[in-house]
Amino acid sequence: MTKKYVTVKNTGLGLYDIAKIMTDEGDKMNHSTVRNIINRSFVKVAKSITSQYGLNYDDERIFNIAKSPEFQNSVVEILSRKKNE
């Protein structure tokens, strides 16, 4: 069975906690929505990167890239530096 979830080692909040915070701030959502947004964000970034390199990958291949821990670590690393630069 193909794994559908994006999983990485992290020190942040769980999906339920994030859903609660977002709901409290006015964006009503449950944990599944949070998970979908995370998945979608990585896919969006992966899609943009592959197109910048001129690679015409199908959705399945892009999703495989998006869920790989190496890719997610790179994105997280750069995201964590983004505001400091």
Partner: protein, 253 residues
């Protein structure tokens, strides 16, 4: 090879002996004929001036240099001089040819002095810099600064720096250290901190591409990712990056 070189040098000496110095009239006559296309006149003019080439080449010759190569390169200067000399201008051929031969010899010296070609003007400037530095050091008793050298030579500091950098000594990566026996290349690759420049460039490029792609995320998506991965600028900034009650307690402790 050595035998060939000896023969070559002897050949030069033989030509010099067989071709005495030309008189002023002969010079003008041969130059005019050479201008009209006479191959004999051109060759005669060249051969009769090999003496001048040998004299200049001897002056520029250094121990670590092949004299025959220098001789041949200087001869190219002579050939250029013969082709460009205008007898109607009134000066002697040797006066004109000397500059061409010197130029060819200096160019050869410059090109053979280092593995990396540095423009002749830069190398000449470097010689002036070294000479001036030695003079200033002798006068003041301390090493002069680049600015002082630049003022003394009336050249911009930038030009002095460039000439010094361009003429700096180079070391081969394959040169073995006499004591340790290791090469510079081994030393560099053994260093744990060493990162292949190509990998570094690819990483940099990848990061730049990811950064560009991250700008496509909406504020909401970015916030969720930050919350999910605990990415905050300031760990105590719980207002913009809320944390769980357990984490709050931990931070307050």
């Amino acid at each position: 090879m050595q035998e060939y070189k000896n023969t070559y040098r002897q050949q030069y000496s033989k030509i010099v002996k067989e071709n005495p110095i030309l008189t002023r009239k002969e010079e003008i006559r041969l130059s005019r004929e050479a201008k009209k296309g006479s191959e004999y006149a051109r060759n005669k003019l060249i051969q009769s001036n090999y003496r001048l080439v040998m004299s200049i080449a001897k002056r520029y010759h250094r121990k670590d240099m092949d004299f025959d190569d220098l001789l041949q390169e200087s001869s190219i200067g002579l050939i250029k001089a013969v082709d460009k000399f205008d007898p109607e201008l009134g000066y002697k051929f040797s006066t004109y040819a000397t500059w061409w031969i010197k130029q060819a010899a200096l160019q050869y010296l410059n090109e053979s002095a280092s593995d990396i070609k540095v423009p002749t003007h830069s190398r000449l400037l470097y010689q002036k810099i070294r000479k001036k530095m030695a003079e200033l050091e002798e006068q003041s008793g301390k090493s002069p600064t680049i600015k002082e050298v630049a003022v003394a030579l009336e050249e911009p500091v930038k030009k002095i720096k460039y000439a010094m950098k361009a003429n700096d000594k180079i070391s081969s990566l394959d040169n073995e250290n006499e004591e340790t026996g290791s090469t510079l290349l081994n030393k560099v690759s053994d260093n744990d901190d060493y990162v292949n420049p190509e990998t570094l460039m690819l990483n940099k490029e990848l990061k730049s591409v990811i950064r560009k792609s991250l700008s496509l995320l909406t504020a909401k998506e970015e916030k969720i990712l930050r919350l999910r991965f605990g990415i905050t600028e300031d760990i105590t900034d719980t207002e913009n990056f809320p944390v769980t009650n357990e984490m709050k307690e931990y931070l307050n402790d």
